[in-house]
Symmetry: C2
Subunit: 304 residues, 2 copies
């Protein structure tokens, strides 16, 4: 079960009625934040989601609207008396940029570990989730992210019995443990578990032109959160010039990538109301929602 | 005539219902900003005061709640296509701190000039105002500011006639010009103007303990904007420990300094409603107002 909140849906600059684009994900008592523009900590407070359990902050890239809120957020987390280390992951240059911003947040009661993504793709295990960064196509180096929560197969007592496995080992095997018996024999979870079941997949892509890396990575997402900077019908040239996407370009990716649902975000400050353009967008990909500040969902494993 | 807006009244961290403390002053088509925390550009937009005419940004000190909004504001001013240079004035270290923050705002269409205040006091002529920085008493180097708008004396046609000054020179003298006549004689404004009249004085003091430098400098202000971090009756120890002031300490300064009006600002995030404590504060200095986001006034020369 993943708690997902789109804290803001604006691009370029924060507005009185629209926070900058940022995503918060809670899983199993831990939180991951993607991007942190000016005001993100206020959006979090407005929503009532505490910043203290944030173990990891992922950055897509280092344009100010995606990172200018970092020093304030770190200080607020510090004021909440966090002492556990916090990991910051982002493109090459992360360590230097975080260092610059910490000029105004030099003293924190917790350690910060910076990790710079290497190459076009990199996988991480973070807070029990498989997180993958993949390079997209902006005017500076920028990554999209997928987060996957795997689901084990169902425990099969008939197989366990047939393999002659003592019932006292069942629980440990069911929870993924390998067991070495006194006689050297090894019991593995695969001996008692059915095939891996469908897990959960969440994708976050912003500040990019359409590019095959997006389709390749977001395929099959339960929720695909994607930038749509411009909604107007004649905005493709503008999107191309600024290395962003239109709502319709995002919808074509959603359709081609077989995602279950898409939320649009990162609207241009000139876009008054995303809903004006949604009828056309839904003709391309029906299950599109226009992102709003604080929009929340809970992703759950499929019922069986 | 000075337009004054207290953009926010919070200290330490921005809150959903309270922007960080920052003051904007407009005079004669130009604007001066004091402090710029996270969200200040949103507060400005909410108020409808454009950031584009900001010629000068004054910083009291470099704690994040007073400067974290700088990169975003600079980018927004840049997006508004400002090309005129912008001056940033602050304590020693200004150039380095601004340099660090510009790591996320490297490209701007206007030049930034940084000026570091020297010593305990320094005067500047900015946008037609006499601005003075004076050192206050915080846990890092911090300055308060006064802004004064001088008012010339009244033009006295009787004196001009008595001095035998040709009427065609009156207007120029009245506007402060010195005139050298063909015969080498010099006409000065003092020959036709009465005594200088009372001008306007605005003071802004935050993040400090009470200290004589405040009283010495804010004396006679039309409006004294002063921090009051804590309102509760038993909060002096806390104020002392964190190098801040209580409402009542601020009120005593206002009373002793013979100001006309005081606005409190820079409330602790734990302070729910400043108005709870105002009755006691007004017993010390009656003309105190509890600052609110977007609180505005127009300071005008006295009627005669």
């Amino acid at each position: 079960m993943l708690d997902v909140c789109l804290l803001g849906c604006g691009g370029m600059m924060p507005l009185p009625y629209r926070w900058l684009t940022s995503l918060m994900v809670r899983y199993n008592g831990k939180s991951i934040l993607i991007d942190c523009g000016e005001g993100t900590q206020i959006a979090m407070k407005e929503k009532g989601w505490s910043p203290k359990p944030i173990d990891v902050i992922l950055f897509t890239h280092y344009h100010a609207d995606h990172i200018s809120g970092l020093p304030g957020l770190l200080l607020t987390i510090g004021n909440a008396e966090r002492t556990e280390p916090l990991t910051i992951i982002g493109p090459k240059g992360t360590t230097a940029i975080v260092g610059h911003l910490r000029a105004i947040a030099p003293e924190l009661p917790f350690e910060i570990k910076c990790v710079e993504i290497e190459g076009d793709e990199q996988e991480f295990n973070l807070c029990g989730l498989r997180v993958k960064a993949f390079k997209v196509k902006h005017n500076i180096i920028c990554y999209g992210y997928t987060m996957e929560l795997d689901r084990l197969g169902r425990f099969d007592p008939e197989r366990a019995k047939a393999a002659g496995i003592d019932v006292r080992y069942w629980n440990r095997l069911q929870h993924g443990e390998e067991i070495v018996l006194d006689d050297g024999a090894i019991l593995t979870p695969s001996m008692v578990m059915g095939e891996q079941r469908r897990g959960l997949k969440l994708s976050y892509v912003t500040d990019t032109r359409p590019t095959p890396a997006i389709n390749n990575n977001v395929t099959g997402s339960d929720l695909f959160i994607c930038e749509g900077m411009y909604g107007e019908p004649d905005s493709e040239d503008k999107a191309r010039a600024h290395k962003h996407m239109t709502f319709r370009e995002a919808a074509r990716i959603a359709k081609d990538s077989d995602v279950k649902e898409m939320w649009l975000t990162h609207y241009s400050p000139s876009l008054v109301k995303a809903e004006f353009y949604m009828d056309d967008v839904r003709k391309i990909f029906e299950n599109t929602r226009a992102g709003k500040d604080g929009m929340t969902t809970v992703l759950k494993f499929e019922e069986e």
